[in-house]
Structures are given as structure tokens and as C-alpha cells.
């Protein structure tokens, strides 16, 4: 269950970025993801490592943007979850 929860959390974070025209500042992203900053950091680093998001520094702000791979994850999320359920994985 923990891992499925993890996929869901990742999808939530990516969804927030997508709803914000695919880029958002980090503070509102933490706030809208409803997680503690420690917990958020863990998922955030994983999303960065997997190449689902990018960090863009412009002026004084640090923006988080969705990559093509991140968009593909959102597109295929339902398929992944259905597949896991169907095969009881």
C-alpha cells in the first residue's frame, strides 16, 4: 500500500504543477500539496531524480516546472494504477 500511496502523492504534486500552467514557485507548491516540508522534500527530490520536474532559477525566484516525462506520467497514471490493481501487484 505504501508504494501505491507514493505514486498517488507523486501524481498530486505533478497535478498541482500542471494546473499552474506547468510551473510554480516552491513555497505555494509545498502549501498546496498538504504535506510537511520534510515529507515534501523526500518526494520532491525523487521527482527531480526521475526527471519528472525541473528547477528553473529566474531572478530571485526558483520555479518548478513539469518536464515531458512528468506529463507522460500524468497521462499514464490511471493505466499504471489499473494495471497494478488488475494483476494484484
Amino acid at each position: 500500500m505504501a508504494k501505491r500511496g507514493k505514486l498517488e502523492i507523486m501524481q498530486n504534486i505533478l497535478n498541482i504543477i500542471q494546473q499552474n500552467h506547468s510551473s510554480i514557485k516552491i513555497t505555494p507548491l509545498i502549501r498546496r500539496s498538504n504535506m510537511s516540508s520534510t515529507r515534501f522534500k523526500k518526494y520532491y527530490l525523487e521527482l527531480l531524480e526521475k526527471g519528472f520536474i525541473n528547477e528553473i532559477s529566474s531572478h530571485k525566484n526558483k520555479l518548478v516546472s513539469l518536464t515531458e516525462k512528468g506529463e507522460r506520467f500524468l497521462e499514464r497514471y490511471k493505466t499504471i494504477i489499473n494495471f497494478i490493481k488488475e494483476f494484484e501487484l
Binding site: M1, K3, L7, K50, K69, R72, F73, R76, T79, I80, N82, F83, I84, E86, F87, E88, L89
Partner: protein, 241 residues
């Protein structure tokens, strides 16, 4: 081309060993292996993107199971070819100085990959319930190697049969435990169970060839149907991609 070369080539291919080969249905064997290997690889590559995006362990073990099935079937085809070509019943009948060592190595790899394929399939369903340690996979690999070594070291058919019945009992136990905890019936377990039964019959068919004389075609058809059923379920869920 020297005179008579054509006839020599023809005799080479249609001489006693090859005549035997065609008589015993190498076409059926090749077609069967081709279908199973293709189905397995289609499942493996069809789920590649889902795994790359999710890194989900259950999908990883599920894919590994099919990759190992494909490799096992490749070695199975080699064994069948050798047996049919030399008109032998069992690999142990090979002379050690001709194909004996090659045949035994192929058998070792076939039994190892077959056992691991079944273990991976079970693990893909059970990994969350078991202690999620990476040692589990090492232990399963060791178990598969032990089974493979026993299968080549022992010339006793009862040992081969007993090992595979033991494997089947493990599958039935795992399927039963998983099925018992489900509120609603799930036909997947039935498919897995049938699949494991036919797979183990395939292993026994290689290790003790005369045991299922006359039932071979039935085992082949039933195994193909179960593989196609799982492939259909995968394609339905994954989509055209």
C-alpha cells in the same frame, strides 16, 4: 559447385537424424516455442513504459517473470531440438564427449530460468506481504539454482517429479493464501494457477519425456491458451502502446 554437392547437402538434411526430426514434429515444437516466446516478450516490452514511469516493484517482478519465461523457452527449444535431432528420449542419453556437457548446461539453464520465472511471478503478487528485503531475491535465485543442480545431478525420475510437485505445491499454497483473503472472487489467481500447472507439466515433459506421451499436444494447447489469456489482459490494460 562440385558435382554431387547438392545431393550431399540434401542427404545431410534428410538423412536419418533429420528424417527423425521432421517425423517427430519439429514444426509443432518451433511454432509452440515461437508463440510462447513472442507472448512473453510482448508482455515484457509492453509493460516497459509503465515500469519506467512508476518504478513500481510489483511491475518489475511481473516483467522479470515473463523475461525469464522467454529465456527458459529458448533453452527448452534447444533441448527439444537436440533430443529430436538425435532421436533420444532424454538428455542423459547423450555421450559426455559429444553433446553431453552442452545438453546438461542447457538443462541447468532451462530449469533455473523456469523456476525463477515462477518465483518472480509469485513474488510480484506477494512482495508487499513479505519482508521487503533485497535478500528475498537472492534466496529465490539460490533456490532456483539448487533445483537446477539437483535436476542435472540426479538421474532419478522420482526426484525430478518430486521437485516439480513441490514447486507446484508452493504455487498452490501462495495462490490459496492470496485468494482466501480476497472478499470477491478474482479470476487472475485461477489463471496463474492453471499457468503454473501447465508450466510445471512442460518442465516435467523435458525432464521425463515419456511420462506424458499422447498428452503433449494437450499441454501445448492449454499452455498457449493461458499465455494468450494473460497477454490479452496485459494488452487490454496497457493499451495499444
Amino acid at each position: 559447385m562440385p558435382f554431387g554437392t547438392g545431393r550431399m547437402i540434401f542427404e545431410g538434411f534428410a538423412g536419418p537424424p533429420f528424417r527423425n526430426l521432421f517425423k517427430l514434429g519439429i514444426g509443432t515444437e518451433l511454432f509452440y516455442s515461437f508463440v510462447i516466446i513472442t507472448c512473453s516478450l510482448m508482455v515484457y516490452y509492453g509493460t516497459k513504459e509503465l515500469y519506467e514511469l512508476s518504478s513500481y516493484k510489483g511491475i518489475k517482478y511481473f516483467r522479470q517473470a515473463f523475461l525469464f519465461f522467454a529465456v527458459a523457452y529458448f533453452f527448452r527449444s534447444i533441448i527439444k531440438f537436440l533430443l529430436l535431432y538425435f532421436g533420444l528420449n532424454e538428455l542423459i542419453n547423450f555421450s559426455p564427449i559429444t553433446f553431453g556437457a552442452f545438453g546438461l548446461l542447457t538443462q541447468l539453464l532451462f530449469v533455473y530460468f523456469s523456476s525463477m520465472a515462477i518465483f518472480y511471478l509469485l513474488y510480484s503478487v506477494m512482495w508487499k506481504k513479505w519482508n521487503q528485503s533485497s535478500y528475498n531475491i537472492y534466496l529465490l535465485n539460490i533456490a532456483a539454482f539448487v533445483i537446477a543442480f539437483v535436476s542435472i545431478l540426479s538421474k532419478n525420475h522420482f526426484v525430478h517429479f518430486g521437485l516439480n510437485v513441490f514447486l507446484l505445491l508452493i504455487v498452490i499454497f501462495v495462490v490459496y493464501v492470496s485468494y482466501k483473503n480476497k472478499k470477491k472472487g478474482h479470476n487472475l489467481y485461477l489463471i496463474y494457477l492453471l499457468w503454473s500447472i501447465f508450466w510445471i507439466l512442460n518442465i516435467i515433459d523435458i525432464l521425463i519425456p515419456n511420462l506424458f506421451q499422447g498428452l503433449q499436444l494437450f499441454i501445448y494447447i492449454a499452455s498457449t491458451i493461458t499465455f494468450l489469456l494473460i497477454l490479452y489482459k496485459v494488452i487490454k490494460n496497457v493499451g495499444a502502446n
